[in-house]
């Protein structure tokens, strides 16, 4: 049997499972469409803001530094993937591989420490930082 054919014989239960899940989800989406009630009151089409009349636009900007952690995530995720490859082959690569992985991990731990020292991993608000500083001084 060719590689492709053996793949298909191996994989079809997964494909069937995923198709069934999609089918179930479509049923759950379609059900209320036919069964559900329909109402239209004065405030039906307004955004929910705890029962008061909505104020202002929802199109506000979020401070850009908040995206920093997403960058950190991408980079540490990439690093984790290298370690996935090491973890599965740790016996085969032996001590040479271990030392390499150790250097790899240490470099990234150092990077993490550096970011920590700079305060990049500090999500307190300005006010919280200021208060904490004064509390520590007392």
């Amino acid at each position: 049997m060719s590689y492709g054919a053996s793949l298909i014989t191996h994989l079809w239960p997964l494909v069937l499972f995923l198709v069934l899940v999609i089918g179930l989800i479509s049923l759950m989406l379609a059900g209320p469409y036919f069964l559900g009630s329909r109402r239209n009151a004065r405030a039906t089409g307004e955004p929910y803001e705890c029962g008061i009349v909505p104020v202002g636009s929802a199109q506000y900007h979020v401070p850009i530094p908040f995206y920093l952690f997403a960058i950190f995530f991408v980079i540490f995720d990439l690093e984790a993937v290298f370690l996935f490859a090491w973890a599965v082959a740790v016996r085969e690569t032996g001590w040479a591989g271990f030392i390499e992985a150790l250097v790899f991990i240490v470099i990234l731990l150092v990077a993490l420490l550096y970011l920590w020292r700079l305060g990049a991993l500090d999500w307190r608000t300005f006010r919280q930082k200021r208060d904490r500083a004064s509390v520590l001084l007392r």
Partner: protein, 315 residues
Amino acid sequence: MSSITANILNVVGILVFVVASAAMLTWVERRMLGIWQERYGPNRVGPFGILQVAADMIKLLMKEDWVPPFADRFVFVVAPTIAMFVVVAAYAVIPMAPGIGVIDLNIGLLFFLAMTSLSAYSVMFGAYASDNKYALLGGLRAAAQMLSYEVFLGLSLMGVVMLAGTFNLREIVLAQQEQWFVIPQFLAMLLFFIAGIAESHRTPFDLPEAEHELTAGFHTEYSGMKFGMFFIGEYVSVLLTASMMVVLFFGGWLGPVLPPLVWFLLKTSILVLLMILIRGALPRPRYDQLMAFGWKVMLPLAMINLVVTGVLVLV
């Protein structure tokens, strides 16, 4: 031919099991929380309120299929679909007992990680499509939290992979015949447990849905069955985390006397109950504490655990 029938039975059975037990969990959780908080919980519909699930289901089906006129219609429907699809799909690789399990992938663990990494989309798309202030804030928070905890979710599991030498979950279970991995990998177990709770954003990591600051966070504008899908997704993810822990750390179906499937279900339910107890017992941390905990404590611990395990495996 018989293997095809067995496979179809497996596929259908596991799908029904996952969805039905997620639905049942909504009742179990309310009931257990009631007991632990010295009140009744749902006890009206059927014996011990067990038919509450059916009542809820009918209620959700009869609710209006409402999409806010100001929302991004297409993305609004896609978000709960992703929420439910990824967690149920991830369950496909869980080996429940010998011969029971949808598929035996060589990269089973990576498949699980891939699916969990996609689950962040559900909250982000839900928040974006809702076009609501609370939803956007909640969505950003949820994304930040899920991504931060996802980093060491994967890393914490690599200790187990080192000991077993494979990503195949069935082989990982079989590698635990002499000793469950919870003993050499206790730290990793704790890390994974915490990351799993954070990924399914349940208390104490439910800041994205913190009701007294963000109403309901990313699903503020969701109602009816679409809300129900987020809800079921959360419970499937509880079940998934518990099952994954059983498979990776607590020897899967292995155990004396009782049949394998019973052992698996027993261990899983104990862990699920533990997660419910945690919800009943712990308060919610402040947002910056949650993020700092993930990056400054859990991530270095996961890396150190990896190095120590590497030494232990090689010596």
